[in-house]
Amino acid sequence: MKLTRRHAIVMALGSAAAFTMPFRAYAAVEEDIEAFTGGVEIGTGGITLVAPEIAENGNTVPIEVDAPGAEAIMILATGNPVPAVGTFTFGALAGSQSAATRIRLAGTQDVVAIARMPDGSFVQASQEVKVTIGGCGG
């Protein structure tokens, strides 16, 4: 066995553990949320985030988000060195307010989606995605 990229990712887990604990403590995440919401309190419901529980490949993790009626949806990978993944904006004529993409995750962490609704309110959904070494499923 040689140490492949996969192992390098695993070894990075040690440092990633520091990110995974309280994402609120991670300043960049706070700043990104503040910039998107302007400090408005964030509710739940009305937004669905679909992500794998355990990533098959941390370098390309498929996610889907759906928030009917939303004007914009921001995706954050809270444990990445740069948490902001992107913001999808939907025009008035958009047929649905959903998006699917693939994101890279530095380690096990929460993925967060926040939607801005037309009335100025915000809702969020999050899911932990585990990035693992694997290898022993029986």
Partner: protein
């Protein structure tokens, strides 16, 4: 008015009484040497639909010894819940008499003594007899195979699964789902699936590139059985590319995908399904959680975690059936489906006592024909077990087979520490029994069996151990992979299962010196079953065969190097 739920529960109670009395009696009958095939197969048909479930055969075509786990710890909401109950506690829970045939079949203790009385279990020729008997009673009973079928023996490895495919086809399954099959490589899997005379199902098998449902596997199939529209939805093992080498099947992606499962249930209901069955390789705890999150599944036939339960577990309106492994058991589930709903059930976990159930002659002949070209290699005696040693694998932390494999890795590969995967397959060997090459392949055969030798720092070893421990003891079943803890040779450790990842494993100790493992120091580690491509080294079965031949008689001392806290 009796609600559907009440009806199910009432029916459940009846089932429990039925199971308990039936099970207790077998012990007495067997003790009197009058246990008969009719006792095992006796079943008063119920309702209008019959399901036959078999799973995790691991290519065991012939009867085997298989010791059930002594340690099977549940975490979170599953603590102390079945299937995380073993030994005397399990017998007490289900009213099983000590020393009975059921004690032998379902629990671990007194395995050697009871094995002498009750004999080997399983054998696909015996399973065929059971299936034929049920079909004689219910001609359109559905036979559903939960997967882990084309893996796990010498002949299966040499024929790339063809021996098992040929034999299973004689049993005429109606559908199947998958796990270890994919370690044959995706080309081979597609070759076999293209010729299968039954449905290959997996609603969660996706095209990795486009993240769309893979066209090679249907999500479900509709059947008419007993005048009832039955939908069978497949659920393959969700963590295939993580637990097994993803490079062997790079086109496919898996995952639990319970949102799509709900979509499929809704779709088949819309098409008129009156009974929705999920043929699952999720593992038991994942199936329980899925049953909570997905509505409208009547029956989950659960595989992967190798649990054998004498009664279904009820989650909401869903019954979950666990049918064991290695051909030891077949479940028969009769259902009363009326007015588009499941109104009740009767269930029996049928133990395949190979000395009691007559082999089906055609299937027996087919099995022998598959084995004939390999018979010399299969039957060659490599060594034997001492009178004090049962070789077994199942259990969360260690098994004597794994201790022997770990010892072989250290001695043959001159390593400080050895690692062996925490898989749940692999039959047992009784004391004083010859160990043949077939026996050895039964616990080692795989398409990525090379034994690596490498250096790892103490810190990296700790990271690996933490990672595997979280796959087993994460309190959320959706984050578990369903294997057991990685087996370790040459190193002791302490595990506190209730801690989060990164904090479970401590007190790593190099056994040969008694010193603590130094995070900064490098150690020579030998292991096998790496999921990495281009792993180099001899095949594990050659390593272990060489070791056994040198020792001659194998005695494995109890493993005292793992300290478990919080169970």
């Amino acid at each position: 008015m009796i609600s559907r739920r009440d009806f199910l529960q009432a029916s459940m109670a009846a089932s429990a009484i039925y199971g308990a009395s039936g099970f207790g009696e077998w012990g007495r009958l067997a003790a009197q040497q009058v246990i008969t095939q009719d006792d095992l197969l006796g079943f008063e048909a119920f309702g209008n639909v019959s399901l036959i479930h078999i799973t995790d055969i691991h290519a065991q075509l012939k009867p085997i010894w298989f010791r059930e786990p002594e340690v099977n710890i549940g975490v979170g909401s599953n603590k102390g819940q079945v299937p995380h109950v073993t030994g005397a506690d399990f017998r007490k829970l289900y009213g099983i008499d000590d020393g009975s045939a059921t004690h032998y079949a379902l629990t671990y203790d007194d395995f050697n003594a009871l094995g002498q009385a009750y004999g080997r279990m399983g054998g696909m020729d015996r399973v065929a007899t059971v299936v034929n008997s049920i079909r004689a009673d219910r001609p359109d009973a559905l036979l559903l195979d939960g997967g882990d079928t084309w893996h796990g023996s010498y002949t299966c490895l040499k024929t790339e699964g063809q021996d098992v495919v040929n034999v299973m086809n004689l049993l005429k399954p109606d559908a199947m789902t998958f796990h270890w099959e994919f370690t044959l490589g995706s080309d081979r899997v597609r070759d076999i699936v293209a010729d299968l005379p039954f449905a290959a199902l997996g609603q969660n098998i996706f095209d990795a590139e486009w993240d769309e449902p893979a066209e090679d596997f249907a999500p479900y199939k509709m059947y008419e059985s007993g005048g009832v529209q039955v939908a069978v939805i497949g659920q393959a093992f969700p963590y295939m590319p993580i637990a097994n080498p993803g490079w062997m099947f790079p086109e496919y992606s898996f995952g639990i995908r319970d949102k799509r499962m709900q979509d499929m249930v809704d779709e088949v209901r819309g098409m008129g399904a009156e009974l929705v069955v999920c043929l699952s390789h999720n593992g038991f705890d994942v199936d329980k959680k899925m049953a909570e999150r997905v509505t409208g599944i009547d029956v989950i036939l659960s595989g992967h975690t190798h649990d054998a339960l004498p009664e279904p577990v009820l989650v909401g309106d869903t019954i979950i059936i666990a049918s064991g492994s290695n051909g030891k058991f077949v479940s028969r589930v009769d259902l009363d489906v009326r007015d588009g709903r499941m109104m009740g059930f009767r269930h029996k976990l049928i133990p395949i006592f190979s000395d009691v159930i007559a082999p089906d002659a055609d299937v027996a002949a087919a099995i022998d024909a598959e084995r004939a070209p390999h018979l010399d290699a299969l039957t060659e005696v490599i060594g034997k077990t001492a009178d004090d040693t049962v070789l077994y694998r199942r259990g969360n932390f260690n098994g004597s087979w794994d201790d022997l494999i770990c010892e072989a890795l250290i001695e043959e590969r001159e390593a400080d520490i050895s690692l062996s995967p925490g898989v749940r397959w692999g039959p047992s060997i009784m004391p004083g029994q010859d160990i043949t090459r077939e026996d050895l392949f039964n616990v080692t055969s795989m398409t990525y069996g090379k034994a690596y030798r490498t250096e790892m720092t103490g810190e990296f070893i700790h990271t690996v151990m933490e990672d595997v421990a979280d796959n087993l003891f994460n309190p959320d079943p959706y984050y578990q992979q369903g294997g057991d803890m990685v087996r370790v040779g040459g190193m002791g450790y302490r595990i506190d299962i209730n801690q989060p990842i990164g904090q479970r494993i401590s007190d790593l100790t190099l056994l040969k010196t008694g010193e603590a493992i130094d995070p900064a120091k490098s150690y020579v580690v030998a292991g096998w079953a790496s999921v990495n491509e281009a792993t180099e080294g001899p095949q594990i079965w050659d390593v272990v065969e060489s070791h056994i031949k040198k020792k001659g008689t194998i005695s494995v001392a109890p493993n005292t190097s793992v300290q478990v806290v919080g169970a």
